[in-house]
C-alpha cells in the first residue's frame, strides 16, 4: 500500500472531508479492508458516526452494502457486531479508542471476547492523540482493559504498512482482536516487504543490545527508534524491540531482553499501569530476571490538554524525551556497577 506524504500549507483551508488525505494509516485501513473483501473475506465495517475520522468512508464507497453506520450508539454497535459474527460475517468495528474499550467494556468482554467471536475492534485516535479534546477523548487505559480480557488479541500496529499487514493477518486469526491505532499519521517505519512474515505475537527486533533494551509499541516505536539510533551512534549498545502485539506478548523476546541483566525500558502512549510495561514487568518478575525495568508512558495521571506534539514533549514521549529516559537508565547502571566494583574491591 503506497503511503502519502503530507504537505499542507498552514494557510490552506480544510474541512473534515480533507482529514483523510493527511492520514496514510487510515487510508491503509480502508484499502486493506477492500482488498481482503475482494479476496473473499466476509467483511462488514461498522462505525459510530465517525466514517470521516477513521476513513471508513473509503470502504463504504466501495462496499455500501457492507458498511453500517450505527450512529452514536457504541454499545449497540459492539453487540450488533457480535450478532453478525455469530452468523458468518467478520465485522470490523472502528471508533475512538476512548469509547470502544471504555464505554463498551462489558459488551466487548461478554459478547465478543468471552463469546470468542471473530469481531475486529479498531480503537483509533488512541492515547493522547486527540490532545486538546481533553480526557473524555484520551485513551490511556484501553490496553489495561483489553489486556485483562481472556481470549482477546491486542495489537498496536506501528505504521500504515503494519496496519495493512495486521489486517491481512487477521483473516486467518480466529480470536477476536483489538487493534489500537493513532491518528493514522505515524511516520513510516516499515516497508510492506519488511512485513511479509508479519505474525501476531512475534515481536520485531531492530537491534540487539547489551547495555539496555527498549521495548516499544504502536506510536512509540518510531520515536524510540530515533532515540536508540542516536545513542547507538554514540557507542551505547542499546537494543530495540517492536512489541506490536501486547497480548499475547512475545514471551521469548521479552525474556531475551531481560536475560542480559541490563535495564529494560518499555515505552507506550498509555498509562504506565496495566499496559505494555505491566505485561513486561509480570513476565520479568515471574522469571526472576536481574534486569531493572523502567516503565515509560503516561505516569498514572490524566493528561494535560494541549496540542499533541506539545503533550508528547511534556511527557517525554518524543525522540528526545525517550532518549533522556534511556540515558538515565544507562547512567544508573554505570553508577551501580561502579558502586558494586568498589564494594568488591
Amino acid at each position: 500500500m503506497a503511503t502519502r506524504q503530507i504537505q499542507r500549507s498552514s494557510e490552506q483551508s480544510w474541512t473534515l472531508l480533507d482529514l483523510l488525505d493527511q492520514a496514510p494509516g487510515l487510508i491503509a485501513l480502508s484499502d486493506t479492508l477492500v482488498e481482503i473483501t475482494e479476496d473473499g473475506a466476509p467483511v462488514v465495517a461498522l462505525t459510530g458516526d465517525l466514517k470521516y475520522s477513521n476513513g471508513l468512508v473509503r470502504f463504504a464507497e466501495r462496499y455500501p452494502e457492507r458498511f453500517f453506520n450505527m450512529g452514536i450508539s457504541e454499545q449497540n454497535m459492539v453487540s450488533t457486531a457480535a450478532g453478525m459474527a455469530t452468523s458468518g460475517l467478520t465485522p470490523f468495528v472502528a471508533d475512538f479508542a476512548s469509547f470502544l474499550p471504555l464505554l463498551c467494556c462489558e459488551q466487548i468482554r461478554t459478547d465478543v471476547a468471552y463469546s470468542q467471536l471473530p469481531v475486529r475492534l479498531i480503537g483509533h485516535h488512541a492515547g493522547i492523540t486527540l490532545g486538546f479534546y481533553g480526557t473524555s477523548h484520551h485513551a490511556t487505559e484501553d490496553l489495561s482493559i483489553t489486556r485483562a480480557m481472556a481470549g482477546l488479541t491486542v495489537v498496536c500496529p506501528t505504521d500504515a504498512a503494519m496496519l495493512a499487514a495486521s489486517v491481512r493477518a487477521s483473516v486467518a486469526w480466529e480470536e477476536p482482536i483489538y487493534f489500537r491505532i493513532g491518528r493514522g499519521r505515524e511516520p513510516d517505519v516499515y516497508t510492506p516487504e519488511q512485513l511479509r512474515d508479519f505474525e501476531f505475537g512475534r515481536a520485531i527486533w531492530h537491534h540487539r543490545g547489551a547495555d539496555a533494551v527498549v521495548i516499544a509499541t504502536g506510536s512509540m516505536v518510531s520515536p524510540s527508534l530515533e532515540a536508540v539510533r542516536k545513542l547507538r551512534g554514540e557507542g551505547h549498545d542499546v537494543g530495540m524491540l517492536d512489541m506490536h502485539t501486547v497480548k499475547p506478548v512475545d514471551r521469548q523476546a521479552v525474556l531475551m531482553a531481560g536475560a542480559t541483566g541490563s535495564p529494560v525500558i518499555t515505552v507506550e502512549e498509555h498509562n504506565v499501569v496495566g499496559g505494555l510495561g505491566a505485561a513486561v514487568a509480570e513476565l520479568l518478575a515471574e522469571k526472576g530476571s536481574r534486569s531493572r525495568l523502567r516503565r515509560h508512558g503516561i505516569p498514572d495521571v490524566y493528561s494535560l490538554i494541549g496540542p499533541p506534539t506539545h503533550l508528547y514533549r511534556h511527557y517525554g514521549l518524543e525522540g528526545a524525551g525517550i532518549e533522556a529516559v534511556i540515558r538515565e537508565e544507562l547512567e544508573k547502571s554505570r553508577t551501580l556497577s561502579v558502586a558494586a566494583g568498589v564494594a568488591v574491591a
Binding site: V44, N76, G83, A85, T86, S87, Q107, T110, S115
Partner: protein
C-alpha cells in the same frame, strides 16, 4: 387483549393450540425439576414466558431437530437470560443437547448455567446474562442475513425490566433505521423486576407508544394465550420482505401457573420444598385437566 394489527392474523388450529399448551406445561414442570437440581432458581420469570417459548419453538420458528447450527434456522435471543431454565428442556427435546447434560443442570462443569452460554450450549444462539444486549445481537444477525442473502428471522425475548436499559433503545432506533424487518421482539410484560413492580422501580409506560415512536410495528397480546400468540407470531414471521421490525408486547403474569407464586415478588428467585413442589406440579397438571 386486542392486537394493534390492522389485520387479524389467521387463527391457529385446535391441535396446534393443544400442542403448545402441552409444551407449556412441559416447560413449567421441567423448570421445577431442574431447579430442584440447582437448589435455587428463577421459577417465576420462567413461568411468565413458558407459552412464549413453547409457541416460538413448537409453533413458529424454522428449526431442524438435531441441527443447532443449520445456517438458515430462525434465531432466538434470550434477553431475560435468567429464565434460561425454561429453554434448556426445549433444546434437549430438539436433540441439540443430551438429556444427561440437562439432568446435571448447574452442576460443576455442566454447560447449563443460570444464563445461556453460546460457547457451551448447542442451540443457544447468543450468550446472555447482562440485560440489554440481546436486541442488538438480534439486529446483527438480521443484518448478517441480509448481507449474505439469507432470510431467517431473529426472535428476541426481552424482559419488561430490561426496557430500562439504554442499549435496548439504541438497538430499537438502529433496527428501525436499518429497516431490519426480520427482527421480531417479544416483551414478556410480567410487570415485575427484582425489587418489585417495574412501574414502581423504573416506570416504562407508555410502552407501546415508545416502540411505535421508534418506528416499530407494535402488537399486544395475552402472553398466556398460546393460540393468539402463535397466530400473531406466525403472521409476523411470514411477512414478505418486511422493512419494519416488529415488537409484541405480551401481557403475562409472573409465576403464571402456580397460584402462590403469581405476582409474588419473592418468587423471582427461590426454592420449593418437596411439599410445595407437589402443590406446584399439581396445579400445573390441573390446567391440563381443566382444559379437557
Amino acid at each position: 387483549m386486542s392486537s394493534a394489527a390492522t389485520e387479524n392474523p389467521p387463527a391457529v388450529d385446535d391441535a396446534t393450540v393443544e400442542l403448545l399448551e402441552e409444551r407449556s406445561r412441559f416447560i413449567r414442570s421441567e423448570v421445577i425439576r431442574l431447579i430442584k437440581v440447582a437448589k435455587v432458581g428463577h421459577y417465576a420469570s420462567a413461568f411468565s414466558c413458558a407459552e412464549i417459548i413453547a409457541t416460538l419453538y413448537y409453533g413458529v420458528m424454522s428449526l431442524r431437530r438435531g441441527e443447532p447450527d443449520w445456517p438458515d434456522r430462525d434465531r432466538f435471543m434470550f434477553g431475560k437470560g435468567h429464565a434460561a431454565v425454561a429453554l434448556y428442556p426445549v433444546l434437549a427435546d430438539y436433540d441439540f443437547i443430551e438429556r444427561e447434560v440437562l439432568d446435571q443442570y448447574t452442576r460443576l462443569g455442566n454447560p447449563l448455567g443460570d444464563h445461556p452460554d453460546r460457547t457451551r450450549v448447542p442451540g443457544v444462539d447468543f450468550s446472555s446474562g447482562s440485560i440489554g444486549h440481546a436486541l442488538s445481537a438480534g439486529l446483527g444477525m438480521a443484518l448478517s442475513a441480509r448481507v449474505q442473502g439469507r432470510d431467517f428471522n431473529s426472535f428476541v425475548l426481552l424482559g419488561d425490566g430490561e426496557q430500562n436499559e439504554g442499549q435496548v433503545w439504541e438497538a430499537a432506533m438502529s433496527a428501525a433505521h436499518h429497516k431490519a424487518g426480520r427482527v421480531i421482539a417479544t416483551v414478556d410484560r410480567n410487570r415485575y423486576c427484582l425489587d418489585g413492580e417495574v412501574d414502581e422501580v423504573m416506570g416504562i409506560e407508555p410502552l407501546d407508544e415508545k416502540w411505535r415512536a421508534f418506528g416499530w410495528d407494535v402488537h399486544e397480546v395475552d402472553g398466556h394465550d398460546a393460540g393468539a400468540l402463535c397466530a400473531l407470531l406466525r403472521h409476523l414471521a411470514g411477512r414478505d420482505a418486511p422493512t419494519r421490525p416488529a415488537v409484541v408486547i405480551a401481557h403475562t403474569v409472573k409465576g403464571k401457573g402456580v397460584d402462590f407464586m403469581e405476582s409474588e415478588i419473592g418468587w423471582h428467585l427461590g426454592f420449593l420444598n418437596p411439599e410445595d413442589e407437589t402443590r406446584a406440579l399439581e396445579q400445573i397438571e390441573m390446567v391440563r385437566e381443566g382444559s379437557e
